[in-house]
Symmetry: C2
Subunit: 338 residues, 2 copies
């Protein structure tokens, strides 16, 4: 089959790879309907995470079940399924607590930017739609595999409640879907922090009521200005740098929460400042498996349309252009069709 491999910074190739096979009785093989490039793939692509060997890329996926191992009973061949970017058994204590991305048996998904994918712990990881979804829903269903589930988790972790004022730091696909999530939960005011006009526009389509273009201390001051000096009730941190985390923490009111889903790079939180801020913090790799049933329903009932974040659709052959377009911020997010 054809699959995507990263060889070195900015050297990503589609090449012939072995077809995946069932290796454990808990595996499933799916035929990819759509996959995509993740913002977190860019950490590798840019060489910020070192690339020490040729690495199969991609962890967002949806498609048709081709084959299941002998211990997989909850899904069957022919079903359309979506799964999380971490495989999880969905039965261990951490899964039961709703933190499937900390599953005691979790395994990262790798190599999803390909025609076929082996999914470990398939019974716990994959959720089937009822029937074959309409083709126009595919992009939105694909987002549930990571980016939408991650934006949703940011909102849940930040304890967004109806009527709240919510700030979103980061205008990548996760941040934009954090806006959508906050709007869906019922936030009264959603402040998107973005200086890119097409992203501002999409943020507004997703429910943002205010746009702030300033960053850092100026961005914090702008949030305070908009909130009578109080700060936001909830802040979604969707970047992962020291600057964005500081901005998020300082934008929240005392008693407010920061839900952070940007993978931290070089982030150290000063204990004393955090203490006196009274700002709470919860984040991590999103347990998207936990949210899949609810979010699949919302998409299939056409109540949310997170697939709008894909502003570039390419055949899988052009995966390298997908990476380039996102790296250069010409695209928010690139969908790939095998």
């Amino acid at each position: 089959m054809r699959g995507t491999v990263l060889y070195a910074p900015r050297d990503v190739r589609l090449e012939q790879r072995d077809d995946p096979k069932i290796t454990e009785p808990t595996d499933a093989i799916i035929r990819m309907t759509a996959t995509c490039v993740c913002g977190s793939d860019l950490w590798d692509y840019r060489g910020i995470n070192p690339v020490t060997q040729p690495t199969p890329m991609g962890h967002e996926y949806c498609g048709i079940v081709e084959e299941v191992g002998s211990d997989v009973h909850s899904i069957k061949p022919g079903q359309f399924v979506i799964g999380s970017f971490f495989a999880s058994d969905n039965t261990c204590p951490h899964c039961q607590a709703g933190f499937q991305s900390s599953c005691q048996h979790r395994e990262p998904i790798q190599g999803a930017q390909a025609e076929w994918l082996r999914v470990p712990l398939a019974g716990g990881t994959l959720v089937a739609t009822s029937g074959q979804p309409d083709d126009d829903l595919i992009p939105s269903l694909l987002t549930l595999s990571d980016v939408m589930g991650t934006g949703w988790f940011a909102a849940v972790a930040a304890r967004v409640q109806p009527g709240m004022t919510v700030a979103v730091v980061g205008d990548g696909a996760v941040g934009l879907l954090g806006v959508l999530s906050a709007a869906r939960i019922g936030a009264a005011r959603i402040i998107a922090m973005s200086r890119h006009q097409p992203r501002q526009k999409l943020a507004c389509e997703f429910g943002a009521t205010d746009i702030i273009t300033e960053r850092g201390d100026e961005g914090v001051a702008a949030i305070k200005d908009l909130t009578d000096g109080i700060g936001a009730d909830a802040v979604l941190e969707c970047v992962g740098t020291a600057e964005s985390m500081t901005q998020a923490l300082r934008s929240a009111r005392p008693g407010g929460f920061v839900g952070y889903v940007g993978v931290p790079h070089g982030v150290n939180l000063p204990g004393e400042e955090l203490f006196y801020s009274h700002v709470g913090l919860l984040g991590g790799p999103a347990p998207v498996r936990h949210f899949l049933p609810e979010l699949i329903d919302l998409v299939c009932n056409r109540e949310i349309n997170p697939g709008k974040v894909f502003d570039l659709t390419l055949p899988l052959d052009q995966v390298a252009e997908g990476y380039r377009a996102m790296d250069e911020r010409r695209a928010i997010k690139a969908l790939l069709r095998p």
Copy 2:
């Protein structure tokens, strides 16, 4: 009047000071019934927080209202009152949100280890008991001014719920009252981390079900052993050092919360570890004003007896011995009677 002043590390004196006077119409003057030495006073006493000038000490207090300013209407002379270690107006947005210790007009209380005390923002800060309390309740009522309210906040911030497994890091008075708080809320299992026999005993009286004497990584391993490798549902961090915070964070399960109330000294939280741990964090100076009405009821109905943390009672004259006894860990907490 007589009041306590810290001149230099380990040089604390009771001396004649001016009687406090109403200086703002929102002030009240109270005649101290009981006051005490706080664990946080030891940061100054030990010179860890630099002492740059003679400093009036003490921020825990209860007593009889002597006089109120013209803008104080919720309390009146003759009433027995307890107040927080931060004065707050109890009306600003942060107070309304239950974070009175972040009040937009907050003022620290200073000089409570004395015969009289001026309390700013008295209407917002002080809560009266219904009638004069029995004398044997005074120690417990005094704890509500800080130490018990702080232990309670640690439990609330850690989201302790009935049936949970709770770990408490720190066997000072706050940690011990964190145990009491978790027990009162209904935790099923409370693991106190202590290597001091008298403190272990009091922890058990307050509701601890398990004692762990190990610290650091060994302490974390012991918690994991007690919880089938899962970790505690909630952890109360009641020390404030880098070691204790690390221990607390590593003792919690994914999705668990650390409620931290030890004032951080040299604490920096590594963002990446926190991210992958899925552990949530909320803390800060406890908004004890928020909890005062509820906790006063519990004490006056004799449902909790937090005053047991006072294992040393001295006349105010011997305040220096109170500091010494706590510094040398001969006493858990010293109550002072003017």
